[in-house]
């Protein structure tokens, strides 16, 4: 065990972990926006919109995330979409996790008892108003856990963008192994840093969950 090496690489690795955090946050924001849209489509009255939503989910859940990253980064230029590795990675991950998060949001909405919508409608609220004031506030609580699971998967999934040379944590680890031939030390440091990030995230999710639980 090369303790000195560990000490030496930590500052660089913390820097790389920061890139992982940034790409996670960007993909998370994009993913949530996509998810809200897709869940809305999937819950629509119009069959064509439901179909578009369902198709999106099957495509993005039915193919490897790695392939989606490659498709955007390597295949994009052929369609005139030229992106930096960081942007391509964040967008591909966001589009991918959006499909999973859409299902979490949809699940939350569908878990609210049908009688809630009926009671709201019977008072004279429109469909949208009933959603906004009655169904969604209750669904939000039910979504936090599943969305948290998606977010944790996303943070770990950012390792995939190492393959298109985004200088994040896993990419940095691979580069250092190439020059030091000490894979154990380096992967151990990398793993600990991922665990710290995921732990931090689960603390945030727990807090949100509790905050919502107290409200009702």
């Amino acid at each position: 065990m090369d303790i000195a090496l560990i000490g030496r690489i930590i500052p660089v690795f913390v820097q790389a972990a920061w890139t992982t955090v940034q790409i996670s946050l960007l993909s998370l924001v994009l993913g949530l926006a996509v998810a809200a849209l897709i869940a809305g489509l999937r819950l629509s009255h119009l069959a064509v919109l439901r179909f578009i939503g369902a198709a999106y989910v099957s495509v993005f859940r039915g193919t490897p995330a790695l392939l989606q990253i490659f498709l955007l980064y390597f295949g994009g230029p052929q369609l005139g979409i030229q992106l930096e590795p960081f942007a391509a990675g964040a967008i591909a991950l966001g589009l991918n996790i959006g499909a999973y998060m859409a299902e979490s949001i949809r699940g939350g909405v569908l878990s609210v008892d049908r009688g809630q919508m009926e009671a709201a409608r019977s008072l004279g609220f429109g469909e949208g108003q009933s959603m906004r004031w009655i169904v969604l506030p209750q669904a939000a609580k039910l979504m936090i856990r599943p969305l948290g699971v998606n977010a944790v998967a996303l943070v770990k999934g950012t390792a995939l963008v190492a393959t298109i040379s985004v200088v994040e944590l896993t990419y940095t680890a691979q580069r250092f192994i190439g020059s030091t031939y000490k894979p154990f030390e380096i992967f151990a440091v990398t793993a600990v840093l991922y665990m710290i990030m995921v732990y931090g995230l689960t603390l945030v999710i727990d807090r949100l969950d509790r905050a919502y639980a107290e409200e009702a």
């Binding site: 008892d113 009688g115 809630q116 009926e118 009671a119 709201a120 409608r121 019977s122 008072l123 004279g124 609220f125 429109g126 469909e127 108003q129 004031w133 009655i134 506030p137 209750q138 609580k141 409200e215 009702a216």
Partner: protein
């Protein structure tokens, strides 16, 4: 001269669930201030009929009128939404499972519709909520959350919530069926009080005794059709139809 136009009128109401015809052409009307009880075995279509009055169920044929306005008129999607939302504001609905909003306090359950739909100021809405809660005997629960209430209290709040919109009619869909027996009376009491105030009501119920006590007219439904209707005394004591007799006999013996 009082207004003789019926408050609710249903003409030729037909409804299918898939291949099953659950309403086979129902006609009935409810006069202003009248209380109609709808009884009948499970699956007779009585709840579907009630729910089609405020368009929670869409009829496949026939018409529903509220106070001279057709409820299920043919309009494009958006105009119909506006129309039905305004019609529903004039009809209070009470559900078997209460359907209180669990994320809102009792006060908010009652004030949300008057505030959001009628633009009532918060203080006025709260005063209204207090008045309605007073009516159902629950003024002290105004700041409680539904989870803290008993079934009977929940249903009384649900009635207060519906009344706060000052509806022209009240529809009760087996309002006491989900309650423990000892909690039924407190809800029935509130309904009787509304009856005394001449609220127009349609009550779908399994409770024959209550129907006999409170209703001006009783409609007996079976297999999606009205089998017999009349004054409670006549229908309960001297049913004409065999189907009514056998249904009532089961109830009285059971």
């Amino acid at each position: 001269m009082t207004d003789v136009r019926p408050m609710i009128e249903v003409r030729g109401a037909r409804k299918f669930f898939g291949p099953l015809e659950v309403l086979k052409g129902i006609d009935f009307s409810v006069a202003r201030g009248q209380i109609v009880a709808v009884i009948g075995p499970s699956g007779s279509g009585k709840s579907t009929l009630l729910r089609s009055i405020n368009h929670l169920e869409t009829l496949d044929g026939g018409e529903v009128w509220l106070d001279g306005v057709q409820v299920n008129q043919t309009l494009a999607r958006r105009p119909f939404e506006r129309h039905i939302n305004s019609v529903r504001q004039q009809m209070g609905m009470v559900f078997q499972h209460f359907n209180l909003f669990p994320h809102l306090s009792v006060a908010e359950n009652i004030t949300i519709a008057p505030m959001k739909l009628k633009g009532m100021a918060k203080a006025d809405a709260r005063a209204l909520a207090l008045k309605m809660l007073d009516k159902v005997g629950l003024a002290d629960k105004i700041d409680a959350f539904p989870a803290r209430l008993s079934g009977g209290q929940k249903q009384r709040v649900a009635i207060a919530r519906a009344l706060a919109m000052q509806p022209k009619v009240m529809l009760f869909d087996e309002a006491t069926s989900a309650l423990d027996p000892e909690l039924v009376d407190e809800v029935n009491l509130v309904m009787k009080q509304l009856a005394a105030e001449h609220m127009t009501m349609v009550i779908v119920t399994h409770e024959m005794r209550f129907a006999a006590e409170v209703a001006d007219r009783v409609i007996f439904m079976a297999d999606g059709a009205v089998v017999e209707e009349g004054k409670p005394d006549d229908l309960f004591r001297n049913p004409v139809q065999e189907r009514t007799r056998s249904f009532l006999k089961k109830f009285l013996n059971g």
